[in-house]
Symmetry: C2
Subunit: 563 residues, 2 copies
């Protein structure tokens, strides 16, 4: 039962693994999956587009056990009719099948599992264009972002997860001979075997807005450490995860294992089974990025599982001074516009001192800053094609409803004042797409900060404080209470940078100092950046630290006395 | 704020660290702290004894904030009057002081913290004899075990914790320069700093029977990763932990840090503050080995903390066949007698097939096996001095009460039958010591297995099953339900060994095959063996896997745009 078997898939991918393990340690800029779809050439793009089209108006094929019907009601935020149905399987059947598949997957050991997982990544990459289209037409992400972030970036995170888990599993040797001298007689000789054992079945509850990028890290980390995974996609974004499951099952089967190691549990719209299935005793790991409510419920109730949640974030920006006012505005406007503010890492709140922003050309008053930011957004979105490719579409009509409520309150000066109004616009290619330009609202900081209980969407709050120091301490309070992934500060003052550094350590956020170029606060690249810290309400885990992988397996020892 | 400071204490201990990190990876037999007190010579032993005596009839000195009185009611299980009082401090004051001490401890970085922790271990080792006496006269452990297990073994586990944490912290570089080519213009250049940040304050709730060995791993893992630690000893075993705190505070102060990084929170007898303090928001890590009830309560309520619990275990033994019947009996009797069965890792239940035990000299019937085991125990304890040094004293009078109830039920044949009666005996050196010889009871396996809900103590159950395969599957059910650290099997059958291996992986226990020499099932050596898996009710963590250390810190990034 020694877990040192070999497999052609491990040999095939060993160079990738070596490079990737080294990249995790160096944390320099390194990527395995090219960011741009252009590398595939026109023929590749066309073939991918065609493959995506083939899924429309069709029954998605998955050879899973326990089928009780078919389900599927995804709506493309771009207005493209999808009409895809998926097999709906009983959770009981998927759990039993996953349990039965486990033993061979454990016995083959870390190397074989790593080879199979790297092959799944390779195969997902081959299906990259159709997956990017699937993300686009479920989450509303513009195609370029869907490809860069939700395909290439997510594949890199998957590779990072496999590599980080490989490193942790390989800390422990497969076997050792233990000898201890005795006061009398021969030394005591014991043969020890060390087996990497999975915790049990993993449940992956996925997001509607970032289906692949927030779930692939946990999926690969669970699978490579020996756990079967049941994927429970958001009913609005099933297709990218169904593709993931189909590819994984195919590769696993080809490699000689039971495909029920990975299965898809589809819910009807508005009827999530995450909570019910999450409490099943067989489920020992849960990754949940679907919504903050479900994550919190699981945190309070699923005590027996290793739980990895991503919830909601109020990422803050403090503007004090800058040597590059235009660069700062450009960075902020891109952050506000990209994907209509629907990424978990999008900044949500800009804080500025009443004393204004110090620049090389003099001090800019808060009012002027508000006008400049508003103008810069207008400028960026001026060209409809570029604007559309930046904004993408709004994932859920609910976002527009709550956006309009905030707009109405601000335009009546019931709550805040309007800095820039939102407007419905038309996508040049997708006339039925749900789109809106960003809303910019000036707000007062209150003790309750009710206005911050907003979800994702094209919405940015600007808040004035007495001083920059007050802005930083208010940001600390807000991020501790509401959660945050990143904290951005524009200042040339060393003491204020140090103050912000203290906040970042206490609250557990990535601190960005003076980002004025193409690196946005919301960017977090695999192999170099940590996504979340797990130390504030935004998330209970980090992509990808040691704890993210180490909690998914344990080591079982066998000690045998030798003659 | 780069965390790459140096410190003379790091340089002093760097060779120890290197050896220990290598030992963790090789998992061969390696120990840094000698097991035998004899190495200290007669003078060293006498000086240590004298140092221990100086604590008796005295006020333990600790310069902690928020003193509200003095408390202390420890009773030596050997009958030695202790009369030691400790300062009782308010949890509020200790929490505030710990918070204030944190920032410098974080800023100095992993190397400096590692140096300081290794110096604490070195200083604890210097005070080794008095600590061993303190363990003996609170937990009831015989002196040799107190020295070997609770001092030398626990120091080795502490060193293992520091080394494992050091390795995980050092996976991430302190800084890197990130460069990414841009489609237009110069590459994007970002300086990235990575800071190891602590989760918050750690609470260590300690055991009465194994005060040091079950708490030092978590204590050192928390401290070296940047967390202040509040130690909440069991009111029956304060002294060893008070000594730990005093030594740690001294070293921390000498190294130029705030001693309130480590403090002692003493409770009055029967009035544990663990639950109340554990729910304080500042407490972000809890290690709890005090009792199963408190651990379970924390698991159900302290959702916001990283929780590491050690509860209770029903470690099983299955006897099928052996090439060394005498060696097997000797191994079993030592396991039953050592420390009067009061270690969490002590086997609790022997299962044997009605078909008997196959040996080279023929088959031994279950009845004969019971008589042989009973006789072997008597033989081992025949010499009063040797018997006393093996059994030690009973930590709590409650153990004797429940032991007598089981004895009465078995002698009336209400529940089980007596294989060997327990008897109160006298310690040759400590006439007032609480002692009892092991009780051996034959029991029927029922669905409820109520008889297994026993705590620690000199008690072993023997259960007959129809076949060995039934014994193994019953053991699986019992260990999954009641929890277990280890599972021992005596069999020359390869298929049965494989069956047991499957059980070990599914339940998460160390499997011992045919241990007939000086390695007992309960032994788990630092650097080679894992103590618990964290995967069954016995414990939610393992000494010491990657998850045990990685969950105690996170990484905060600072990204600064370079010109």
């Amino acid at each position: 039962m020694a877990q040192d078997q070999t497999h052609p898939l491990f040999d095939k991918h060993i160079n990738t693994l070596r490079q990737s393990v080294a990249a995790c340690e160096a944390r320099i800029s390194w990527s395995f999956h090219p960011e741009s779809p252009a590398k595939r050439g026109d023929a590749g793009l066309a073939a991918g587009r065609e493959a995506f089209e083939a899924y429309r108006d069709a029954s998605f094929y998955l050879d899973q056990p326990g089928v009780i019907g078919r389900v599927g009601a995804e709506q493309s935020p771009y207005g493209l009719p999808l009409n895809i149905s998926y097999p709906q399987c009983s959770a009981d059947a998927l759990i039993v099948a996953a349990k039965n598949a486990t033993s061979a997957w454990v016995d083959c050991g870390p190397d074989v599992r790593t080879g199979v997982c790297l092959e799944i990544l390779d195969r997902l990459h081959k299906h990259g264009i159709e997956i990017a289209y699937a993300v686009m037409h479920t989450s509303g992400q513009p195609f370029s972002l869907a490809y860069q972030h939700s395909l290439a970036g997510a594949l890199d995170r998957g590779l990072e997860a496999v590599s980080a888990a490989y490193r942790e599993m390989k800390q422990v040797p497969g076997r050792t001979q233990w000898e201890k001298p005795q006061s009398k007689g021969n030394p005591l000789k014991i043969e020890k075997l060390y087996t990497i054992a999975p915790r049990g079945i993993a449940l992956s509850v996925c997001s509607a807005t970032e289906p692949t990028s927030l779930s692939w890290p946990g999926f690969f980390a669970s699978l490579v450490t020996g756990n079967p995974v049941i994927i429970n996609p958001h009913p609005s974004a099933v297709l990218p995860m169904a593709m993931t499951v189909a590819v994984a099952r195919m590769v696993i089967k080809e490699a000689g294992f039971d495909p029920n190691l990975v299965s898809l549990l589809v819910d009807e719209m508005g009827n999530s089974s995450a909570a019910m299935v999450g409490l099943r005793p067989e489920i020992r790991i849960i990754d949940c990025s679907c919504d903050a409510q479900t994550s919190r419920w699981l945190e309070e109730n699923a005590h027996e599982t290793a739980l990895f949640t991503l919830k909601s974030a109020c990422n803050c920006v403090v503007v004090d001074s800058t040597a590059d006012y235009k660069g700062m505005l450009r960075n902020l406007t891109f952050s506000i516009c990209l994907n209509s503010g629907q990424l978990l890492a999008t900044p949500r709140l800009i804080m500025i001192s009443r004393e204004g922003v110090r620049t090389p050309d003099g001090t800019v008053s808060p009012d002027q800053f508000g006008r400049d930011l508003s103008f810069a957004i207008g400028k960026l979105l001026e060209d409809p094609a570029r604007g559309a490719e930046l904004l993408g579409a709004i994932q859920s009509p609910d976002v527009l409803t709550s956006l309009e409520a905030i707009r109405d309150a601000a335009s009546n000066e019931d709550s805040g004042t309007l800095l820039r109004d939102t407007a419905r616009i038309e996508h040049p290619l997708w006339p039925a797409a749900l789109m809106a330009t960003p809303l910019l609202v000036r707000q007062q900081l209150t003790d309750s900060n009710e206005f911050l209980n907003q979800g994702l969407g094209p919405l940015m709050f600007v808040v004035e404080t007495a001083t920059t120091a007050e802005a930083i301490s208010s940001a600390e309070r807000i991020m501790r209470e509401k959660g945050a992934l990143n904290f951005s500060v524009y200042t040339d003052s060393q003491p204020l940078q140090q103050l912000a550094q203290g906040v970042a350590i206490r609250v557990g956020v990535t601190l960005n100092i003076n980002l004025c170029g193409n690196l946005l606060p919301l960017h977090a690249e695999a192999f170099s950046d940590f996504y979340a810290s797990g130390e504030n309400p935004a998330a209970s885990c980090s992509f990808i630290d040691a704890a993210f992988v180490a909690r998914r397996f344990f080591v079982v020892q066998t000690r045998r006395q030798l003659a």
